[in-house]
């Protein structure tokens, strides 16, 4: 024999490594699941800080000085007109709004105020009311709108998409697929304009603006809820049409890929009924990836919602964001952006933590 077997074989090396790993695991006090959760939460906090800081910097970089514009406005109305008063007024308001000092000082001031007091400073839009109050007023409307659109479009898109993929050769599936391919590339606000024109202007079936009929007193009455649903219908339909279409396309592609898998051939060779194959094999494998995609799509649906709210004069944070941008209301903008970032990232965190419960192939250990 020309080649000698080395004294330490591969198996022994491997054995040592495995032993060391076991020792390490014993030393660690936390279970793999706990470590996964902690790591994921750590990542969440870092991402949160990074994105809030980035939006802080970008919003401060928008040119223009809202305070000087406001002071000039006040001087015009009030008639007093000395340089010293205008300077001291500017200084006073800059301090009020947290806009004094350099960028770093402003940033520290902002983080301190937000983290310790959950306070974003006063709003410019309705001074001296805090920006947080404006956001609080709009947030429930936006959450209802976005939440409803998200849930309906996901369920509709995934279910119809699976059926369209399943029956991909039939004419009706082909038709639906082509329509949805077209729809998914149209922006939601354009669909909203078309819907407004048809169903609020030409055929006034639905109301065109605001969130409820002003003549009805807000409360938990049936009349009020019905009015809310009526006002929500068009914006929700506009968003659902576009987003359900993209869910549909994604799920259809996923299902067609699954239909080519070996386990599907075997499933039909077992003599399973079509219903069993569709539910137990096709849907079960298609909806898991779409759950992770659901959390990721939250950002996109919120973005799309901003312009839809504006079109329908819906009193949510989307419309508020447009108004505050026009007025360069820095504090309100930051409040809205920060809260939307927190919502999106938290939703992602929750899905990431829950996914191992749904998908047997994902384990907490991260191996």
């Amino acid at each position: 024999m020309a080649t000698q077997i080395p004294s330490t074989t591969f198996e022994e090396f491997e054995g040592q490594e495995v032993q060391q790993e076991r020792l390490l695991e014993k030393k660690m006090l936390l279970s793999p699941a706990m470590r996964y959760v902690l790591r994921r939460i750590g990542l969440y906090l870092i991402t949160l800080w990074g994105s809030i800081t980035a939006s802080f910097i970008f919003i401060r970089l928008i040119p223009g000085d809202p305070i000087r514009a406001m002071v000039a406005q006040m001087q015009l109305q009030g008639g007093y007109n000395t340089i010293s008063t205008s300077q001291s007024m500017s200084d006073f308001y800059e301090k009020q709004f947290g806009l004094n000092g350099n960028l770093l000082q402003q940033y520290l001031h902002y983080m301190n105020r937000v983290l310790l007091h959950l306070d974003f400073g006063p709003s410019l839009l309705s001074y001296p009311n805090p920006a947080m109050d404006l956001v609080k007023r709009g947030l429930p409307w936006t959450m209802a709108l976005v939440g409803t659109s998200l849930v309906i479009s996901w369920i509709l898109g995934v279910v119809v998409g699976a059926l369209v993929g399943w029956a991909r050769k039939s004419r009706w599936a082909d038709t639906i697929n082509n329509i949805s391919l077209g729809l998914s590339h149209i922006p939601a606000y354009f669909v909203a304009v078309v819907l407004l024109f048809i169903f609020a202007y030409n055929f006034p079936i639905f109301p065109a603006n605001s969130a409820y009929d002003a003549s009805i007193k807000p409360g938990w009455s049936f009349a009020f809820l019905w009015s809310v649903i009526q006002h929500m219908a068009l914006p929700v339909i506009a968003t659902v049409l576009v987003f359900a279409a993209s869910w549909l396309n994604g799920t259809r592609a996923l299902v067609i890929q699954i239909l080519g898998e070996d386990y599907l051939t075997f499933a039909s060779a077992k003599g399973l009924k079509n219903r069993q194959i569709l539910l137990g094999y096709v849907m079960k494998n298609a909806w898991l990836p779409q759950i992770s995609a659901l959390a990721l799509s939250l950002g996109a649906i919120i973005n799309g919602n901003v312009l839809v709210e504006q079109l329908f004069r819906y009193p949510g944070v989307g419309q508020l964001l447009v108004m505050s941008t026009q007025q360069k209301d820095v504090n309100t903008m930051m409040a809205i952006v920060t809260i939307l970032i927190v919502m999106t990232l938290t939703a992602n965190l929750i899905v990431d933590l829950l996914l191992p419960l749904f998908d047997p192939r994902i384990s907490y250990s991260g191996k």
């Binding site: 386990y263 077992k270 003599g271 192939r361």
Partner: protein, 366 residues
């Protein structure tokens, strides 16, 4: 639990008699593959018979149509493959024969799993990745009218039969080794006690030890359950270990079929001879393996006459234009070119070296 055990407890003697009766008869089966350059005849005029309780092997090189043929039996053949002609008669005991090719998908579903089970080629990916193996055994039985409770009760027994522990039922496919997955698939295949198991390369991608265990399991199942097995493999030693009769397939056609011993020891068809010569023997002298000259022809353009003629060392004039028929040569010992061959009964061959294969009318063109 005992209620759902063996459906037909056949006495050994009766079993021997049954072995003479055909269970599956494939008659003149054509399968075409529709391409842009025309229809490719992937399986062409295929004839073979599997008897009750028999293990029948199909051998042949890659691309000769083995897998397509067995998929056609179960009608799980995929577009663009299509059965264009022929019958597949299936005769379960005590029932009239039925032509599987004439059944609709809904009617065929009742046969799949219940009467004809399938062990697929890609066994590593043939289990649903997001379902526990136990549930995958159960859903097949439920599809054939067994109550879920009864089906669940039968799972441990099925797993034991294929040499697995009962707790495997609670695992997901990714938690199993390749050999274990293959056993789960066999457990699914036998769950309805079918008359026929169609196994497509059941041991490919498994190491020799696991391979042997799987083959042993199949053998035992045949003895215990009285099932017939149609096994496809390119691996001749697998056939030599397991099967009773073998069919050698070349270019979409069965070129030789017969009992395994004579077919391996004294193959009649030159292609079969080449195939047997390609198997190295452990302990034999390390010579260059003979193998077969040339490459497999394309299904889009099979050669005229005998499809093997351009690779055949015994090629004659007639081979280039007359397709030989699959026929039984007169039993007895005879001299074939430079070889002495003892031909037994029930040994069919399609080769002009045996005058029985040459069509009598002469000049038949395709």
């Amino acid at each position: 639990m005992a209620q759902v055990t063996t459906r037909t407890q056949v006495a050994p003697v009766a079993q021997q008699e049954l072995r003479q009766e055909p269970l599956l008869q494939i008659e003149n089966l054509d399968i075409h593959f529709v391409t842009q350059r025309g229809a490719a005849r992937v399986v062409d005029q295929c004839n073979l018979t599997v008897h009750h309780n028999e293990i029948f092997g199909i051998a042949g090189e890659s691309g000769c149509g083995k897998t397509t043929l067995v998929e056609a039996i179960l009608q799980i053949i995929r577009f663009p493959n299509r059965v264009t002609h022929g019958r597949v008669l299936f005769s379960p005991p005590g029932k009239p024969p039925v032509d599987l090719m004439s059944l609709s998908q809904a009617e065929m579903r009742r046969y799949r799993g219940e009467h004809i089970a399938y062990i697929p080629q890609g066994s590593q990916n043939s289990l649903n990745p997001v379902q526990r193996t136990g549930d995958q055994i159960v859903d097949g039985m439920v599809a054939h009218g067994i109550s879920e409770r009864q089906a669940k009760a039968k799972v441990p027994e099925l797993l034991t039969k294929v040499g697995l522990e009962g707790k495997v039922a609670h695992l997901y496919p990714h938690e199993l080794s390749g050999g274990m997955k293959q056993r789960v698939i066999i457990a699914i295949a036998i769950s309805m006690e079918p008359e026929l198991i169609v196994a497509d390369e059941p041991t490919t991608a498994l190491d020799v030890n696991v391979q042997r265990l799987i083959l042993e399991t199949l053998k035992t199942l045949r003895e215990e359950m009285g099932v017939a097995i149609l096994i496809v493999s390119h691996d001749l030693p697998v056939h030599a270990q397991l099967v009773d009769r073998i069919g050698v397939m070349y270019a979409g056609q069965i070129v030789e079929s017969g009992a395994i011993r004579p077919a391996v020891k004294e193959p009649l068809h030159p292609y079969a001879m080449g195939l047997m010569a390609s198997v190295p023997s452990i302990g034999g002298s390390r010579e260059r393996l003979e193998g077969i000259q040339g490459a497999t022809p394309s299904p889009l353009n099979w050669p005229d006459g005998c499809r093997f003629h351009n690779r055949c060392p015994y090629v004659m004039d007639v081979c280039t234009h007359v397709p030989p028929l699959l026929a039984q040569p007169e039993p007895g010992t005879r001299q074939v070119d430079d070889l002495t061959r003892t031909i037994g009964p029930d040994h069919l061959v399609a080769c002009h070296l045996y005058p029985e294969s040459t069509p009598q009318t002469g000049g038949t063109h395709e």
